[in-house]
Subunit: 351 residues, 4 copies
């Protein structure tokens, strides 16, 4: 007998990340989209009218005629994927949590809140325990769980096995980020055609603080940030999807090149082992060609959920340097949140 | 009475850098193009037939009908601008030097040779003295002088005033390099449209060793390399002209932000003071807008000879981080060599 | 003794075309910018604060501290360059004309109004006479003069000499238009990177009707549209500046290839002969290379005011086919209006 | 019991189209790659070493270690997919046909040969009969069958139902073609970034003559070309995959807009009905959104085999105008040849 699917809602359903949620949920074995909400402008319209669909696969049939709801917890399902701008998220997400919803958020609004888990299922699934600290959880059962910024997640997946096995003392990262990371309409074509923009507002701060929390240790009811030194340079380039990052690290204990590659490729995908359907078999793929990974060829690996690493070589300032690539709207946004929701389910938080 | 101009020749006249030489020499007050040489394929043809002109300004009238000479020192002028691939340069440049020519080379072939000056006129004009060590100089009067790689030059111009004033202990740099740096046809469009290539063959090695030599000290008859630690990550992006670089540095002595900006903007342009016509008034421009410099807007500053710096801010691993931009085929190639030739003339090496 | 310059104002001074006006007027021998107006948001701020400057040359010093005025004719100069969206132009331009201003407009709002001259100085300078029909002209002396859409102007300049000499029966044109034609922020990068958009709202209609009016005959107090058949296909491509157009035409009387090229290159630039400073010496340049004109190389010809034509060859459906290229924000917008103002001055309409 | 697959070989296996053949044959139900040949440079090497793989899906495991054979019919399978440059094809393809091979060619070398079928299975499957005229067929059983140029095929698929139902008198087409159509390395990035190249050598001639042959009538043992007038303007744009075409046509008998859309969407896919596995269910998809089809969103429709049409509207010179989009290396090259091979099999030509 087929199991009943869990009804989910999407807050911010018409944006770039909202559309990715709908795309990734189209044939999901556990979840089914039952409710879509967006700004007042869209409210009351069928989704197909409210949305300028921006993905290469067609809009799923089941959402075309779904009427866009107001962004209120009244009548919303108990599992909510949130793809809102930080300002709006700050206001709306607590309302849904207070109403008893599991809010699985892609927004930056509450990521650094001490009682909000900032989770990558392969990296720090134990941080989910934080949500028991949330007042909403205690009152209504609702809570907020977040995933990191699109530029932090690829980096942290790549760093996690090295951090565990060798320890990390310092991290240097320069990003070359895709335009889809800025949403739609986002970056004007006049700003990026044939150009590099060496600045993304607040991105460097987010990368640095989120990396420390993600690799931090759960201790009692709170996370103690990881203690390494870190610096990020964030740039925007004329790429559609895929953030490429040049990374240097200093380890706490020396490691051979082969040991590092082994640590990367041997990195166990916990959510895959737990049976999460969106978890890639391989969390990290190591590309051995001298000029890889590249967005063009590697961004869709593992349905966009695998992080690619390549060019591991000694660094003249720290110990090792390498290149990291990950899909910013899948692994770095909708796929990240979806995997969090799957983890929540297998760990009993969605019942 | 108008002074007679010095006749110059161009080796590799049909390539991207060769064309830039011709463009920049079109109305030069001191030099005039009298001889053009290129590969066998072009020999004997009028320049306009031998060349697929790739610049936005029209091919100068005076070279259109100039017949392309064989690449031999016989009959060549005594001042030669060389824009050859390293392999060919290694063979040809010594022949011209042996024949008494001043070879002002943009090639990497002899940059690291202990007796060959690797010079940026604003940075290390005194290194020219090295050329007295060259056997050719002693025998025929000829010699080879080189300028650095297009990715090193912008960085080193930006570092020079800081190195002098505060000392530098460590340098971290990630480049996002324009396609024109690879010559023509160079990078295939299928490789770079909507993509980043995290690899440029031998580029990181060149950046690191050239930076050390350029900022090194002339001591007796040789250069003692600068002693900092350095690491470079080199990437290719979909930009036509202009290398953008994310840089972090650790200084030997602490410096305030204002002091650093003052050092940058106050950096004296020695060749400008010496009256070199291609020297920019300002070697370095500091851009105060949060999202600058950008190739789109800043690459042509100072006729492509000014290096732009911006986004100076504290670095979480080293001391300070900032962005550097320079024009790779002007400041980083033809303009660099031309300025070297101008320096040679004002210092009496062309007489 | 230096002549006093005519004070001019710019409506819509902060947009892409407004900035081009300021750039082109920076060192203009006849006009000087004395007044800048923009939307309420900008009002009262210094121009340098109100504007995100988007051009490669720096913001002219004389406008940096100029305070942005409200968009009202009170206190405005008597010559106004207008770079407004059509909706706003429809409301504001008549107010300025009624107040006695010469409104030199780049907007589409009144182009097809029977009493408003739609003028390209090389093509139909006599159409200026239309402005005597305007009610404002009769009452206050003010009037509106317009230039065509950026996609129409290059085409019409190229067609004008052929139309006059041979007559034209049919015109087929497909455009590949630059993103700057849509203003800023305009086209989202996610829409155009690696893409073609086969649609620009109302563009085909404008091209067709404006071409007929521009090549029409002044008869008594009105313009009789040119009688050819015409069809336009308008596409957006990933080019920054420069509209490329594939054109086929059927002539009224047969013409040899050489005669057509002669008609194009021999096309007399009336405004140049009249001494208009922005008029290119050559209104049309014929490019003989098989693969030209191209935006990359040819868009800035004649300071962006020369229209480039190439690839003239027989057409299998009509008579001849060729490629036209023109700079859309210079020849197709700010430069077009400026040249109109210069024509107005030499013909005594600005006194 | 599983049926034995037919062994096939690929001539030109390392190029862009050769790689597509390998990708599309990876899991093909009827064919299996048994032999790969390429230039002398590659001969004797494992395919994975001989090839710089340029597709987004990984190189299929079964070809990685396959040793590249010399391009000779000795030992080659009886079904050969040929992806060679025209000059080499002219020499090699007849050798394979003479040796008894079915040569399914993507090259232009023999397309216009009166005894060589130029076939699109949805359009003119009956033209296959031509191959009985070939001398090779009579002697060894071998033959050559070709598919059209990548720019012609999308157009002809779109025109076919209109040609049949209403007749066509004139065709005007302007192409905006992707860089992958030029192979690898193909178009230099310096030539196309931010640019349009209004010229592709011999492309316009090919489009015009191939369209006439494809829509021509088989009469006795030869094809009588279709009699319409036609003109093509071919341009290269900065798109990776997907040729976009602006088309105008004059019909022989008047047709309403609805009737045309019906003819397009109702166009029966003969190869699909015959069970050819690569045939799209829908040969033509009509896009109703005002700004579609676009390469970004529509190029992969029907696994890259469906031709997209949109923007049908009246034409001011001919009768109707519209936009056509098709995938140039799938529908326009490897997929076209593969579908031809499938048609050959179902019609008994491969036994």
């Amino acid at each position: 007998m087929a199991q009943l699917k869990i009804s989910v809602g999407i807050l911010g359903a018409t944006g770039v990340v909202g559309q990715r949620f709908i795309q990734m949920l189209e044939a999901h074995p556990w979840f089914e989209v039952a409710w879509l909400a967006a700004s007042d402008r869209s409210e009351g319209k069928p989704y197909s009218e409210a949305t300028r669909w921006r993905l290469k696969t067609p809009m799923p049939v089941q959402v075309r005629d779904m009427v866009v709801s107001p962004a209120s917890a009244n009548g919303a399902p108990k599992v909510i994927f949130a793809a809102l701008d930080a300002g709006i998220a700050r206001e709306l997400e607590p309302q849904f949590a207070a109403a008893g919803c599991a809010v699985v958020s892609n927004s930056s609004a509450f990521r650094m809140d001490p009682s909000v888990p900032l989770v990558i299922p392969e990296v720090n699934p134990d941080h989910l325990a934080l949500l028991e600290q949330q007042c909403w959880r205690k009152q209504s059962g609702g809570y907020i769980v977040t995933n990191p910024n699109c530029s932090a997640i690829g980096l942290v997946v790549a760093l996690a096995p090295l951090y565990r096995q060798f320890g990390i003392e310092s991290i240097f990262v320069t990003t070359m980020q895709a335009v889809s990371g800025a949403g739609y309409p986002g970056v004007a074509s006049l700003d990026i055609l044939g150009n590099v923009i060496p600045y993304i507002a607040k991105e460097e701060e987010k990368m640095e603080e989120e990396t420390r929390k993600l690799l931090g240790k759960l201790n009692g009811g709170s996370v103690v940030d990881a203690g390494f030194r870190m610096t990020a340079h964030c740039n925007r380039v004329a790429v559609e999807d895929g953030h490429t990052e040049s990374v240097s690290i200093k380890l706490n204990q020396p490691a051979e090149r082969e040991a590092i590659i082994e640590a990367l490729t041997g990195f166990k995908s916990i959510p895959h082992e737990l049976g999460c359907p969106s978890a890639p078999e391989q969390a990290i793929a190591y590309e051995s060609a001298a000029d890889r990974p590249q967005p063009r060829f590697d961004v869709d690996r593992g349905n966009g959920m695998t992080v690619s690493v390549g060019r591991l070589r000694p660094c003249g300032v720290l110990d090792w340097k390498f290149t990291v690539l990950s899909h910013n709207t899948i692994r770095g946004a909708a796929g990240a949140a979806l995997l969090n929701a799957e983890l929540l389910r297998v760990q009993g938080y969605l019942s």
